[in-house]
Symmetry: C2
Subunit: 505 residues, 2 copies
């Protein structure tokens, strides 16, 4: 990693500028082919790496020079450094032994889709900046809406429409601001401090952050408690009670984020019943279906979206379960005009006759930033390369594997399933035995997790719900097969055997 350690400015000398061709097609071809083989080999050998990185903080900073090199280094040397310096510091999200968080799923089709997106490097802020980028996104968003059996009110072929955002956070931010501005238009901007937003204690942590970003008074962010008895889903009755108390205080209910598959346990808020409460108060209802939504391309899971016709917006992140690679979050809205009212800009230098005519969508007005990539190519490639049937079976296969793991857990009397499994996440733990108190059992669960992860053979994570520490086993990494689930369970069982033995020692 040759580099000068300091004073590299004084070293600058003139290089014949004609020699520097950063996009020579033949050099591009050579480098990119090399990268393809490097990546294909990485995928082939991925099981050889410890799934959770074993390095210590600072490991990489200590290996790299303090300043960038003045002169070129070869791609071969850089690839060698990726292998030797970067890969040891990776937690391998694509390993078939990755059962942590939620999987970040991928596919060959999405990879080449992203290559094509980068190929064009079009900045699709408005239609003219690349008509295909705008139009394909509209088509693909309608396609996916059809697969989810969303009502026409969310589709361009109906009265709504969809847009690709990077993250759920951005989707919530854009809709929240639209909802906020609609209400402030009526009550006056000086009353921003009266606006109240609602979610549950299981709503994604980013919700509170995004509400604060949008200027919602932190005291007005309601995080309603859920209980194990309700499987950690938000109670419509409680929601009404809290809203009524707020209204009685002169506050203005604004926005509800319901979750279809929470991050901790994939709990499901009852969209229809919550919506029936919220509409009474003209609250904007958003459904965060980041993970769970993908399952609804299978008819047998579609009922989890019951009531979606009553809500204002819905987001779903295909990077979680629909094989897209990062980042890809779909947002559908019933009334795109409200988003555009809040987020539109109209600088002179972007004006053109077609956009002025309002006959086309300007996606820059549906998002926070101005610039945007040709994001829909990945989804288009996935839908066409695999077809709906394969994608449905992909969801089903993951759920089957989770069910298998669930059976393993149930077959071992030392364990319990702590929260009912909905999709492909299993929440379980060592249950109380031998009269050990709950603090000791929690400690044992923590030790079990740490020992399993430290082997590098499996990576899973934990959460705490209703005061209970539990282990999360999220099936669905793209390369995971039955055998990996079986091996993971064997490791968990053996580690438990050892732990329990130590308890009695």
């Amino acid at each position: 990693m040759g580099s000068l350690e300091s004073e590299f400015f004084t070293m600058s000398k003139s290089v014949d500028s004609k020699e520097f061709k950063p996009l020579d097609p033949e050099e591009f071809r050579e480098k990119a082919h090399k990268a393809v083989d490097f990546i294909a080999d990485y995928y082939k050998n991925i099981e050889n790496y410890p799934v959770l990185s074993q390095v210590q903080p600072g490991y990489l900073r200590n290996r790299l020079p303090k300043t960038p090199p003045n002169t070129p280094e070869s791609f071969d040397i850089i690839l060698r450094d990726v292998q030797n310096d970067i890969i040891p510091g990776m937690t391998h999200w694509l390993s078939p032994n990755f059962f942590a968080f939620f999987p970040a799923t991928v596919s060959s089709a999405a990879f080449v889709g992203e290559m094509l997106c980068n190929c064009f490097n079009a900045v699709g802020f408005n239609w003219l900046a690349s008509p295909a980028a705008t139009e394909l996104e509209m088509v693909v968003m309608d396609w996916l809406a059809t697969m989810l059996q969303l009502p026409k009110s969310f589709m361009f072929s109906g009265s709504g429409g969809g847009v690709l955002q990077s993250t759920t956070s951005e989707s919530i931010l854009c809709t929240l601001v639209a909802a906020r501005d609609r209400v402030l238009e009526e009550i006056g901007v000086q009353h921003i401090g009266k606006l109240v937003v609602y979610g549950s204690d299981q709503t994604h942590s980013t919700y509170m952050k995004v509400c604060k970003i949008a200027g919602i008074h932190p005291h007005n962010i309601r995080s309603l408690p859920t209980t194990v008895e309700d499987d950690f889903s938000l109670s419509p009755r409680l929601l009404r009670k809290v809203i009524e108390a707020d209204v009685a205080q002169g506050l203005v209910p604004l926005y509800l984020c319901a979750t279809m598959g929470t991050t901790s346990t994939t709990a499901i808020d009852p969209i229809k019943h919550l919506a029936n409460v919220a509409v009474d108060y003209r609250i904007w209802i958003h459904v965060d279906a980041a993970y769970g939504g993908s399952a609804c391309i299978c008819p047998e899971y579609r009922h989890f979206l019951e009531g979606v016709e009553l809500v204002d917006s819905l987001s779903l992140s295909p990077h979680k379960w629909l094989l897209t690679y990062l980042d890809c979050c779909c947002l559908w809205v019933k009334n795109p005009n409200l988003i555009v009212d809040s987020l539109s800009t109209n600088p002179e230098y972007l004006k053109n006759k077609i956009s002025e005519s309002d006959s086309v969508v300007s996606y820059k007005d549906w998002q926070v930033g101005t610039g945007r990539k040709f994001k829909s190519l990945r989804l288009w490639l996935i839908l066409r390369s695999y077809g709906v049937t394969n994608l449905q079976n992909h969801i089903r296969t993951d759920i089957q594997m989770a069910k298998m793991f669930e059976r393993f857990v149930r077959s071992d009397p030392r364990f319990e399933i702590t929260v009912p499994r909905r999709f492909s996440l299993v929440c379980f733990r060592l249950k109380q035995f031998n009269g050990f108190d709950s603090a000791y059992i929690e400690l044992l669960n923590k030790m079990l997790l740490e020992r399993v992860n430290s082997t590098g053979r499996v990576y899973m994570t934990h959460t705490v719900v209703g005061g209970v520490y539990l282990l999360r086993f999220a099936v669905g990494a793209t390369l995971t097969k039955d055998c990996h689930v079986v091996a993971a369970w064997e490791l968990i069982k053996e580690t438990t055997d050892a732990l329990v033995k130590e308890c009695y020692a």
Copy 2:
């Protein structure tokens, strides 16, 4: 593009799930190699396409089926459709004849860097989720800070630090919220309506949008007028006057966005003098150097950042001029703790000992969303593959080409340079001649632009500053060489000849 038009759910039949391997390494290898050749050929032949797309609204929606296919389609067929259906709808941002907006620059090194980023598909929300992703970003942000001769107060090796955002909008949003929360902490959240933010009428249009997103009262967003006499740069004297008036009214000055290279004309706000005003009022000063900042890796342009040691944050978008492909926006901040105070989340399921110990950076707390890609690989690949010297010369070469175009314009008495050229953007127009009034001259300039763009041989855009309509010729698309600038000028001249002839006809 075979697809069923409706009722595809009823067609779903069980497919042997074992057949569906979305990430089979050998299939990946085959598809990705094909994509590489497709892209290399596209770059080789890019000049054959009209740079500005010639399609009409709706062209693509009309060609595509209404629903996605149920069964797989081959990659060859999809690539054929990219060629036949997508490419005609592209405005070719990477064409050497693209002189519109600002260029979106690219390189072979960045392309393979992005391939490697996607390869890992790591979700780097905190250190443990992929130590290399966090650490390389810290290293690369310090490297680039060194190249820009930023003070240590913006570097991890000093007391600050940098982070990769997607867009300038996001960079401004994060710093604005940090600034806002610091002040609200003191004056109370109920006083959010008193906060005032400052920019000029040349500040990027996203600034006003972002301020509104953050809950700044729209009446409190000051867009200070600039003048042609000041080359459209923000006047420190005017800033002080406006701030004093706000303070006198009981308002609270919060945030100033100074621009180093505005979007319309690359005007430069005097950072040092503005900062000297703003610090008197404890205003957070942000420098938006999205485009112009890259030039400052050359010592001879570094003076444009004079005073940067006085500001709180600085953003620069390498996707504009440092060959990275989209999206890549660097944000440096002096006091990362303020960002983290506003944007941190701490859900149980992301907790781990190392992050709890505060010994490592959790980049999720430096941005809006939670998930994030391994973004620094692209910049690392660029810096190492080319070295600082080549990158400096790349900047210089672009500016040389712009200077050449500027000379062409000056050599033709029908034209004028309307705003002084700073970097590689030339702002020019047909000037008044033959006693035509200014409205007619504006019309002629509009006609000139439209005719040039409609040839498909060149794409440039326009702006209006100080009430004057002018043409923008932005040099710097990665493949642009002298000959393309010469040909563009020839086309502009010939088109003008024809136009002028018609005026007299």
